[in-house]
Every structure is written in C-alpha cells, then in structure tokens.
Symmetry: C2
DNA sequence: ACAAAAGTGTTGAGAGTACACCCATGC
DNA sequence: GCATGGGTGTACTCTCAACACTTTTGT
C-alpha cells in the first residue's frame, strides 16, 4: 500500500438477455472505433471515478437500452493483461435480464447500432466478449434452476404457459406441463391475477409473483 | 472509449481458509499503516500492471503464507466509491482453501503479524473486509455442497472420518456417518490408499481423490 | 477390560418423472 | 366443428433421512 503503481483502466461490460421470437437473445452493439472497429461487442464502458460498479452498469444499461429497472447481477471480473490491445483494462461483467416489451432500442442514444442476437447465432465478438457471454449463459441457466429470476423476463402478469416457455427456451428442452405446473404451485410463490381473455382458445389464468419471494429456492 | 477517465486503483484481497483446532479459520494480517493502522484485515495488495488478477492473488498468497498450490477462486468485485478512505480502490476478492499442514506462517516475509482467526470470533476488520469474509463463507458452504473442493483442505491421503469432520466444521452441524459414507461411495470419486495404522483404535482405511474429478457434482 | 473411532443395512417419506385426455374459447 | 393452447391425476422410481450395534486396535 506504500507506493503508487501504474493503474489499470476499469470498465463494466454487460450481457443483456431477453426472450424474443421464441429465442434467447443477447444485445450487441457495433463498435464505431478501433480496436475491433465494426465488430460486434457487448455494451459497456468505463467506470467513473465516483460511481459504484453497479451504478456504472445501470448507467450504461440505460444509455444502451433506455431501460431502468431490470434484474442486474455481477458475474465475474476479467483481467488478463492482454485482453484489450489498448492497454491494461480490467472489466467487471454483469448480466441483465429484461422483458423485451420494456425495451426500446431505437431510443438509445449511445450506440450507433444495437441489435438482438440469438445466443445460438452469435457473430464473432470483440475482445474476450465471447468468453463473457458464455460465462453469462452458464450463470443464467444455473440461476434459472435455483432461483426465481426467470420472472424478471416476463410482464407483471403472466400465464403458466409463458413461464414454461421461458424455461424451455433457456434450457433448450421441453418440460412436462403437469410436472412443471405442479412444481410451481408447490413453491407457493404465485398469486392468481385474473384471466387473460383476448386469446383464440380457452382463457388462461394469469398469475403474478408474490412479493418478497426469497431469491434462492430451488425452482426446478 | 474516447477520452481518458481518472483511473481507480485495483487490488486483490483474499480470504484464506483452513481447518485448525477443529474450527474453520481465516488468515488475517495486522495493518502496519494508516488507514486502519493496527486493525486486522484480510491479506491483499495492488495488482501490477502486467500481471493477471489470478497471478496477483497467487503472488500475494505466497508472500503472506509461503504456499503455492492451493485452491483459488475469484469471488466478487467490490467497488463502492467510499470503501477505501484513501481514494477509489476497487478490489477483486478471492478465496483460497488450504490444508493447514502446508502453511508456515512464520516464513512469511510480508506481514508483520499474521494470525488464524476462527470465523466465529473475528475481530473488527478494516475497510469492508467483514463483508468480503461473510461473502466468502457463504460461497464456501455453497461450493462444499455442490463440488469436491473440500478435499483441498485435506492431505493427499485421508480417512472418511476426516472428510466428515471437515464438512461438519464448515456447516456447523453433525452428519450421520452411514449416510455420509454411503453418499461418498456412490459418487465414485475415491480410491483406496492403504490403511492408517498409527492410531489408538481400529485402523481406518485411507482414501485419495481420483484424478480428473469434475468440479461440479452434487456432493451432499 | 476398557476406551475410541471404524465400519456397516434397512425402512419410510417425499420428490421427481413418465404419461393422456377433456375443456373453453375464437374463428 | 375445428384449431389452439389450457388445465388436470396417478403410479413408479429414486433419493434422502432416521436409526444402533459390532469390530479392531492401543493401553
């Protein structure tokens, strides 16, 4: 702690997930500058000197997507000396989950070009962003299994079918409807919230997530 | 990415666990300088400009404990602007697990005073180190439940009784011997490795961990 | 012989998994 | 009346938890 060392730069980078067109998507922005000019990258930026890491992540998130209240979770800090050709840049990565309806990409001011990509069809990414995205997908699956974060990708009121579909997309496999609903009911985390009646078939029950549901609780 | 921002400092701080005297212990060092002079803190230091985060952690670890090969895992990055009164310091925290036999505290060159503290009797810590230690304990328990990291706190050859004791210390509760051994056997991760014969009772079988055991695998 | 830890099976409860049919609505 | 997703129960398997006595050694 005695002497001054040359300092690295610190950034936050974010893997923003949503469900769109029946697929798990990640938001990418096209880099306008060197290095990796023209390549796709996950959104991020430098941490300001007086702002917390999470504040930096939320600020960047809002600049890119216009969204304020999303689930946000720190993932991992990547700090290989060679990860950025411009010099030493350590990045603290975050993942964000959002409900596609809330996001208005065109309103974003920052990035010249931002686009949703299916996780199964990602382009070549800048820096070590591929590694960050892979890590985020693992964490996402893990969290889906053990917590209720899935609900942050749904509107306030949702049907059981919608939840099941989100799980099926994230895990890339089908679940048995009866077992899935049985499990959800036994967890006792849902409130009934009317019925959805503008559908061309039997009107499904709507549910909302109970308040103060503890985060860790073994969903599947 | 356009302009230069004032840069924060980046440190690594480590929560080093071991089992000693039947208790879970954490290594603390007494701070020789302000701020928090005289307070206990977890060991750590600045990340050098050309070294990776993990290299920095291993270097500090060796300076403090003289130990090279330990289990090391990144935990979380703490970056509240006010966490260090000297200015903006972001710390990447790690946890290390070691087998007490391998550590020789007196050989450490760096810290004036280093001592093992039971996690149940920690003194007031410097900075936000209490938060880091609490986080590390949670992660430790979690990893014990789902992976085989416990074995890195044991010598190469160990008895079933020793493993069980480590689990009992970490979880602060007793397990049923038969169920515990049954579970371990069913995982098929142990090799028999002779018997321990210098004991004043029936000689227990020794075991060693199989090579290439996958890290995640539902232990308990 | 006694102290100390090692070793070993069975039973019951609960959770997970597999599986198929009828229902209510819009068109 | 037909297409579409909604909604529901039972049987089997497997895992987890509870539980007590005998064995082998050193002293």
């Amino acid at each position: 702690m005695e002497k001054e060392f040359p300092k690295p730069s610190v950034t936050v980078d974010m893997v923003i997930f949503t469900i769109l067109e029946g697929e798990l998507k990640v938001l990418l922005v096209k880099r306008a500058l060197e290095p990796f000019k023209g390549r796709w990258a996950i959104p991020g930026g430098f941490v300001r000197i007086a702002e917390s890491l999470e504040d930096a992540a939320r600020r960047e998130l809002q600049e890119e997507t216009g969204v304020k209240d999303v689930y946000l979770e720190q993932l991992y800090t990547f700090g290989e000396p060679e990860r950025d050709p411009r010099g030493r840049v350590i990045t603290v990565s975050y993942m964000a989950l959002s409900n596609a309806d809330k996001i208005n990409l065109s309103a974003s001011t920052d990035a010249a070009e931002a686009k949703w990509f299916s996780v199964s069809e990602l382009p070549k990414l800048a820096f070590d962003h591929q590694k960050i995205v892979s890590y985020a997908i693992k964490r996402l699956r893990w969290k889906f299994e053990y917590t209720s974060i899935a609900f942050s990708m749904l509107p306030e009121k949702f049907t059981l079918g919608q939840i099941q579909k989100v799980y099926e997309i994230v895990f890339e496999k089908r679940f048995d409807k009866r077992n899935f609903f049985k499990k959800l009911h036994s967890l006792n985390i849902l409130n009934e919230a009317g019925v959805k009646s503008d559908v061309p078939h039997r009107p499904p029950m709507l549910y909302s997530l109970k308040k103060n549901v503890p985060e860790i609780m073994e969903i599947l």
